[in-house]
Each structure stands twice: as structure tokens, then as C-alpha cells.
């Protein structure tokens, strides 16, 4: 907390060579009940920087679980445990004993399935992440809030009512506000857990446009149960089934010419 403002400084942020994977998952197994049954089994995949990667699969296949492993949100579940393998982000094993989940989460932001702005003003929602990192300087906050809202394509809609409650916004706006809140702390990676599942088609389209724009600045990992959405927004797609990674490739390959039978069945709508 003492020098946390430096995490915002992009010069200080960990650099990755463009060909290096920003996240590499190696033989990961994960359990929600202290290892009795593994929700995820032997997952290995590498997620490239600056791209949008989609996790797809039928419900209960473990795609959301894997996503929550990436910023260790599963720590909140008492009995959750990584039972094998490792995850490296920016070259650092994130489950190493000297890694602080709080520091990790400053680099790996997250947007949730159900939009969850705090019952505060729009401004305070976006500034929240910066405030908990100890930034009090008003001009820094103002600038970050404006920048994030612009990036999330919300600025024009809300700039005149930054002080009004976030709960007064529409559902789509609230979710974009949550995205703005997540990117305000300048993470390298943004995880999105079915960000459009609670939204109508028009709002969904806005969010999808936004994801395409955000791709320039952030590495995005998105979980979706909507296959069209995966084809529209992602560069790479991973298909999970029953806790295992079945296939991982370029999105066009997965949807056009999958190698595995299960993938083909799923993307063509034969099950799931």
C-alpha cells in the first residue's frame, strides 16, 4: 500500500514480448472440495497477449472456474484448492507462496456475469479501484475516471451526471460501468465472465463492440455460452467439456474445422 501508486505507472508494469504468452497454464487441476473431486483436470494452454481468448463449453464444464483461477477469486471459497499444475502470469507462478492475491488482482481485472456496481455515484464506482490502492489525488482520479469511461464508451452518456447513483443506469450501461471500473486500475488482463448473459441483444452488441476496442490495450479472456459471440469477438477459442480442455485453437479453426468430434458436435449445436 505504501508504494502502490507505482503499479499504475506503465513503465513499471511488467513487460511481455509480443510473441510470449501472457498466461500459461500448465497441467492445472483444481478442486472445490479439497481434492475429493477435481473440477478441472490437467488443463494446459497458453494465452497470447493482446488478443481476445474465449472459453466455451456446456454449463458446468469448468470454464468459469478456470477464469476465476486466473485472478485467484477462488480463494474466497474455503475448500477450493489447486491440486496440481500451475498458472503463470507474466512469467510468475501465481500460486507461489510469496504471491499476494491482492497484488495479482491489480494486474488481472474482472468483469462479472451479473453487473454489480456499488450503490454509489458513477464517479465513485470508477474511482473505487484507485482509491483502495491509496490514490487520493483528485486530478489523477478525475483523469483516470474520464479515460476509463471513454474507453468503455460510456463517457458521452454519463459525463453530465457523474455524481448520480450508478443504480440509475440501464443494465447495459451498468455493465459498461463495471468494465470501466475494471480497466481504471490499468490491468494487463481483463477477465470477463459471461458479461452479456444478463443483457438484451442491443446492449450485448455495444459490449461486443467495446471488447473489440479494448483489445488494443488489454489482453481479454472471456467466458461465454454464446457461440456466435465467441466467433464475433475472439481470436482464440478454447473448448472445455467436463473439466477438461478438449480443443484450443484459432477461433476460425474451432468453428470452421475442429479436429475433435466433441468440438464439432458442440459448435454445430448437437449438444450443450
Amino acid at each position: 500500500m505504501n508504494d502502490s501508486s507505482s503499479t499504475l505507472d506503465s513503465a513499471d508494469a511488467p513487460e511481455v514480448a509480443s510473441n510470449e504468452p501472457i498466461i500459461s497454464i500448465d497441467n492445472l487441476s483444481f478442486s472445490y472440495d479439497l481434492g475429493s473431486t477435481n473440477t478441472l483436470r490437467d488443463i494446459s494452454l497458453e494465452i497470447p497477449a493482446g488478443k481476445v481468448t474465449a472459453f466455451i463449453g456446456p454449463s458446468g464444464c469448468g470454464k468459469s472456474t478456470l477464469l476465476r483461477c486466473l485472478n485467484r477469486m477462488n480463494d474466497l471459497v474455503d475448500t477450493a484448492k489447486v491440486t496440481g499444475g500451475s498458472i503463470s502470469i507474466l512469467g510468475q507462478d501465481i500460486n507461489a507462496p510469496d504471491v499476494e492475491a491482492i497484488e495479482l488482482r491489480k494486474h488481472v481485472g474482472m468483469v462479472f456475469q451479473k453487473y454489480n456496481p456499488f450503490p454509489k455515484s458513477i464517479y465513485e464506482n470508477v474511482a473505487y479501484g484507485l482509491r483502495v490502492q491509496g490514490i487520493k489525488n483528485k486530478s489523477v482520479l478525475d483523469q483516470a475516471v474520464e479515460e476509463s469511461l471513454q474507453k468503455s464508451a460510456l463517457w458521452d452518456e454519463v459525463k453530465d451526471r457523474l455524481d448520480s447513483s450508478a443504480l440509475g443506469l440501464s443494465g447495459g450501461q451498468q455493465q459498461r460501468l463495471c468494465i470501466a471500473r475494471a480497466i481504471a486500475v490499468k490491468p494487463q488482463i481483463v477477465l470477463m465472465d459471461e458479461p452479456c448473459s444478463a443483457l438484451d441483444p442491443i446492449a450485448t452488441a455495444r459490449i461486443e463492440e467495446l471488447i473489440a476496442e479494448l483489445q488494443e490495450d488489454f489482453t481479454i479472456v472471456i467466458v461465454t455460452h454464446n457461440m456466435q459471440q465467441a466467433t464475433r469477438v475472439s481470436n482464440r477459442t478454447a473448448f472445455f467439456y467436463l473439466g477438461e480442455l478438449i480443443e484450443y485453437d484459432d477461433t476460425s479453426k474451432i468453428f470452421g474445422n475442429p479436429t475433435r468430434k466433441q468440438t464439432e458436435d458442440y459448435v454445430s449445436g448437437r449438444f450443450g
Partner: protein
């Protein structure tokens, strides 16, 4: 490669700030364990010290012969109960047969008092005049003065009597319905001679009538009352002896301590002389190796025979006197009392024989087991404190009172609370639900001292008046003698238990899956059938747990029972069957509240109260654990 995401922030004692914050909250939460432990520890500490102290007390009770004399005390007490029942019957019968005469006699006394009070000066004058007249009866002036004084008195008497409040004079209302007698009495009392003070012929006649009509009964009752005189005398003699022995023994035992205290104190004295005096005083205290109990209590061993013969005499005379008691009565109450006396007499004689036999077993040095003294607490039938004779600490009357009141409260509360829960949860309209639930919650907010107050001021009197109605005399315990009694406390506690049981019951009913009742309704069952055949059986363990927690709440309730239960430390007389509910009782909670403020720390009495608290704590803990078990089982089912 540089390490990212490392911990930041200062650490103290190997724990970072987050750890300390977490520890702070955890510590506060763990405080609840500490408090529960402390409560246990403090209760157990005092209670554990009770038993050895209590044991020593009982040992002394035996060694001083008090235990032996205690038998005689009990015997005389039992006998006295018979005597007072007979006397009560006598007066009841007197009222029934000669109420008017008794009223005349009583009221004449009241009138005399009033006349004497207010006519003090006139009586003085009258006396003076009479004295003068007796000295010189022939002096016409004096005779005239005397006559005048008499006339003055009569005028005064007439006026005063006319102004009397009939209710005050005839405070028991014995002359109600005998207006003729009242008027005649008033007339007769005008002629009353305050100097001689003898009753007027009118009153004397009433007295004679009374005596004549009741002579047989009166004689029998006096005979019965004197049957135990020998035993009573023996008891009084032995009580005095045993008390003396105890006093000596206690002094003897504290001799060493007193000596030490004086010697210690003498060191602080200012002058040498004072010190020498104090030391000399201390030297006077004799410290004996052991107190000569055998020698001192020898007389008791020798009194066994006297005891037996006194008891035999009592038996013979009692049987004879009881046989002489009349069997026809004008008063129903008197008839019942005498029947009771006649029925109890054989029991009494049997008990007396047992008691004499037991008393003769007494030996000053018979060993007293620790187990025995412990049981004396848990099953002792007496709780007597601050007694000059011996303090008894017996839990039985208290625990009986507590349980009896709680069970009555529970029996009343169960139908109301469960019925209300079923109604609100399943049968009532939405609108009713919105106000019934908070209204019942509000009942919980009524402070218990307010309910107790209500019991004293309103419910007690109301119940007693209700119990006087003739048509209700079939109800057990009616008519009631006492305002403050078990049923009064039980009803108020029932009201206190209703919100607890209601709320938990409603939760249990809420937890019954909707699909169950839907299935039943779909099969054509009515709402009520669904409730009684499907919903209630499914929720039964939750309901049971609710009832248990309600019991826990009322058994631990203090103020209502302290104010309303009547606070009589005795095991209620179950001989009356359900009528027991009209008797007063004392409770475990009540006794602590009543006596704790008056005892000093560390005494046996103080520790006894803590032990009662521990018993109470254990009972409520067990009830609580049982309820939790039931709820847990429900959760797994």
C-alpha cells in the same frame, strides 16, 4: 526474471497488517467462547466449594445432636398441622352455626374499643364520680353528680354508637343478614358499663349460646390440642440443649482462629500494657484437641425412652380425641377439614412411629458419607436460611416449583403458539399476516418485570375473583386462597413463551417444501387437511425444537416468578391433585434473585445460591443442546 505480485506492506511479529485485522475480529468472536467458559468457571468455582462446607455443617448437625432433635421438631410440626386444621374447622363451624352470636360478641368488642378510645375523658369522670359515690353514697349532691355522669356517658355512648361504621366494627361481616341482631346489639351496648367492663347481658347470652352449642366440639378440639403437650415439652427442652451444645462447639472450633486474630491484632496496639492485656486475653482462650461431643450429647441417648413414651402418649390421646370429633357439620368447609384430619391421623401415627424409630438410631459419631451430604442438597426437602437452629439447603422444593410452573406455562403456551403459527403461516390472509407477526413479536418486548407487576396487580386478583364463582368450583384448585400462586405465574410465563415458540414454529413451517403441500392440495385435500396431515408432520422436529427452546426461556425466567409465584419455600402439596396449581411456590431463579443481595460472599448460603445457579445453567444448557440436536437432525433428513 523479476518477480511480480509479491507481498507488500510491513510485517509485525511475522504477521502483516491484514493478518492483524483478521486476528482482531477473530479475537472478538472468540470472546464468546471465553465468556461461556468464564460463566462456567465462576459458577463451578463457588459451587464446588459448597459441598465440603455443606458436609462439615451436616456433620456438626449430627454431632451436636441437632439431627436427633430435628426428628422431634418434625413430629411436633406435623402434629401442629392436625391441630390447626381442627381449630380452623372449629371456627368455620362456629361461623356456620353461630355466626350471628359470634358476630355479636366480636362486634361488641369493637364497639367497646371505640367507646373506650373516644370516651376516655368521660370514663375518667364516671370513675371519679363512682369513687366519690361509693365513699359517700348518701350525699345527694354526689349521687346527683354520679347520675349526671352516667347520663352523660349514656348520651355519649348512644351518639357514638349511632355514628359507628358498621363495616369497621363488624370487619368480618359476620352480622351481614342479621340486621335485627345488629340493632339489638347497638341498643344493648348503650347500657354497657365502662367502669366494670363486663359484657352486657345481651352479649353474655350470645356467648352462652355459642358455648352451649359448640361444647362437644370445643372439648374435643382442646383435648386434641393438648394431646402432644408432653412431646412438645420434651422437644423444647432438647432444642435448648442442642442449641447450647452447638453454640459451644462452634466457639470451640473457632478458638484457635480467634486466638491467632487477637495475637495478630495485639502487635498493632500502641502501648505495651495494652499488648500484655491482649495477649493475656488470648491466653485465656482454651484450645481443645477436640470437642467432647460424646459427653455433651449423652443426655440425648438417654432421652430415647422418654421420647418413645411421649410419642405413645400423643398417639393414644390423639386417637381418643379424634374419635370424639363430631361428624355432623353445618359448614361444608369444616366437614372437609375434619374428614381430612381423620384421614390423616393414621398416616401421622405411622410416620410418628417411623420417626421415633429413626431418631433412636441416632449416634453422634455415626459416619456421614460425602455422597450422603451431596444428596441432602439435591434431594433435601427443606431450604431454611438465617435460622438460629440450623440452615438447610435442599434443592427439591425449588426445582419442583420451577418445573411445575414451567410445565404449566408450557402446557398453556403450546396450543396457542403452535395454533397461531399454523394459522399465520398457512391459513391467514396476507393482510392478517402483516400485522399478526409483528404484534406477536411485540409481546416479546414486554419487560418481564412489567408482566410480573401485571400479575400482582391485575391477574392475581382477577383469578381469585373468578375462582370464587360457585359455578366454577369444579375447576381444580378453585376457590383459591392465594393471589400469588403457581397458576398465576404459569399463565404469565405462557404469554412470555408464546412469541419464542411462535417464531421458531413458523420458521419450521416455512421450511416445509412447497411441493409437499402442493401435492396434497392437488390430490383434493382441503387447506386444513393439508396442514394437519402433511405440513405439521413434516415440520414436527422443528416444532419440537421450538417448544424446547420455549421451555428453556421460561425455566430461566426470573422476575415473573419472583413477583408472582408466591415465594413459599415448600414442596407443593400434590395431595390435592391438580389443585396444586393454586398453591404458592418458590423457584430456583426466584430464590437467587431474592437472597443473593443479602448474603456476603464466601458464606455457605452464598455458595448454595451459586450452586442453584449452576443447576439452572446446566438445565438450560441441556435443553438448548437437545433443541440444537433436533434441528441438526432435521437439517440432515
Amino acid at each position: 526474471m523479476a518477480k511480480h505480485f509479491q507481498r507488500k506492506g510491513r510485517r509485525f511479529l511475522g504477521v502483516n497488517l491484514q493478518g492483524w485485522i483478521r486476528g482482531f475480529f477473530g479475537g472478538n468472536a472468540a470472546l464468546s467462547i471465553v465468556i461461556l467458559f468464564l460463566i462456567c468457571a465462576f459458577l463451578v468455582k463457588e459451587a464446588a466449594m459448597f459441598f465440603p462446607q455443606h458436609h462439615r455443617g451436616l456433620e456438626l448437625y449430627r454431632k451436636t445432636g441437632q439431627e436427633y432433635v430435628g426428628h422431634l421438631i418434625k413430629e411436633v410440626d406435623e402434629y401442629t398441622i392436625l391441630v390447626s386444621a381442627t381449630n380452623q374447622a372449629y371456627y368455620q363451624e362456629l361461623d356456620a352455626g353461630y355466626g350471628a352470636q359470634r358476630g355479636v360478641v366480636d362486634s361488641s368488642g369493637g364497639i367497646m374499643d371505640a367507646l373506650e378510645d373516644e370516651g376516655d375523658d368521660l370514663i375518667g369522670e364516671l370513675e371519679d364520680a363512682l369513687d366519690d359515690f361509693e365513699d359517700e353514697p348518701d350525699d345527694p349532691e354526689i349521687a346527683a353528680a354520679y347520675k349526671k355522669a352516667q347520663e352523660n356517658w349514656k348520651a355519649f355512648a348512644r351518639e357514638t354508637i349511632a355514628g359507628l361504621d358498621r363495616k369497621e366494627v363488624d370487619s368480618f361481616g359476620r352480622l351481614e343478614g342479621h340486621d335485627g341482631q345488629w340493632e339489638a346489639l347497638k341498643e344493648a351496648m348503650v347500657d354497657w358499663d365502662p367502669v366494670e367492663g363486663d359484657p352486657t347481658p345481651f352479649v353474655a347470652k350470645a356467648k352462652a349460646e355459642m358455648a352451649a352449642g359448640m361444647s362437644e366440639f370445643d372439648a374435643a378440639r382442646i383435648e386434641l390440642g393438648s394431646a402432644g403437650n408432653t412431646l412438645k415439652d420434651l422437644k423444647n427442652k432438647l432444642v435448648a440443649e442442642a442449641s447450647q451444645i452447638k453454640k459451644e462447639a462452634v466457639e470451640d472450633m473457632s478458638a484457635a482462629a480467634r486466638k491467632a486474630a487477637i495475637l495478630e491484632g495485639s502487635k498493632k496496639l500502641a502501648t505495651e500494657e495494652e499488648r500484655i492485656a491482649a495477649v493475656a486475653e488470648a491466653e485465656k482462650i482454651v484450645i481443645r484437641e477436640s470437642f467432647p461431643f460424646a459427653e455433651k450429647t449423652a443426655a440425648f441417648g438417654e432421652s430415647f425412652e422418654a421420647h418413645e413414651s411421649a410419642a405413645n402418649e400423643l398417639k393414644e390421646k390423639l386417637v381418643a380425641a379424634v374419635a370424639k370429633l363430631p361428624s355432623d357439620f353445618k359448614s361444608q368447609a369444616a366437614a372437609e377439614l375434619i374428614v381430612g384430619v381423620k384421614e390423616r391421623t393414621p398416616d401421622f401415627i405411622e410416620k410418628l412411629d417411623e420417626s421415633v424409630e429413626e431418631a433412636s438410631q441416632w449416634k453422634w459419631d455415626a459416619p456421614l458419607g460425602f455422597w450422603g451430604s451431596t444428596m441432602k442438597f439435591f434431594f433435601g426437602r427443606d431450604w431454611v436460611t438465617n435460622s438460629s437452629w440450623h440452615d438447610f439447603y435442599g434443592l427439591l422444593p425449588l426445582i419442583t416449583g420451577s418445573l411445575l410452573i414451567s410445565l404449566i406455562a408450557l402446557a398453556v403456551a403450546i396450543p396457542f403458539s403452535i395454533g397461531a403459527a399454523i394459522y399465520v403461516n398457512r391459513l391467514a390472509s396476507r393482510y392478517e399476516q402483516t400485522f399478526i407477526k409483528p404484534a406477536i413479536e411485540m409481546i416479546q418486548a414486554i419487560p418481564s418485570v412489567v408482566l410480573g407487576f401485571f400479575g400482582i396487580m391485575v391477574l392475581g386478583e382477577g383469578l381469585r375473583e373468578l375462582s370464587q364463582i360457585g359455578a366454577l368450583s369444579w375447576v381444580p384448585g378453585f376457590p383459591m386462597q392465594e393471589r400469588l400462586n403457581i397458576i398465576n405465574a404459569g399463565l404469565l410465563l405462557a404469554l412470555m413463551a408464546v412469541p419464542t415458540i411462535f417464531t421458531l414454529c413458523e420458521d419450521a413451517l416455512n421450511n416445509v417444501p412447497r411441493s409437499y403441500s402442493e401435492a396434497s392440495l392437488a390430490l383434493g385435500a382441503s387447506k386444513l387437511q393439508t396442514v394437519t396431515k402433511v405440513v405439521v408432520p413434516t415440520a414436527i422436529s422443528g416444532i419440537l425444537a421450538a417448544v424446547l427452546l420455549g421451555l428453556g426461556r421460561i425455566i430461566g425466567e426470573t422476575m415473573v416468578v419472583l413477583l408472582v409465584a408466591g415465594n413459599k419455600i415448600a414442596i407443593p402439596d400434590f395431595g390435592e391433585g391438580l389443585g396444586v396449581i393454586a398453591q404458592p411456590a418458590h423457584t430456583m431463579t426466584g430464590i437467587i434473585a431474592q437472597e443473593m443481595g443479602e448474603v456476603s460472599a464466601g458464606t455457605l448460603h452464598f455458595r448454595a445460591l451459586f450452586l442453584v445457579g449452576l443447576v439452572l445453567f446446566t438445565i438450560s444448557l441441556m435443553i438448548n443442546v437437545a433443541a440444537q440436536r433436533i434441528i441438526k437432525r432435521l437439517g440432515h433428513a
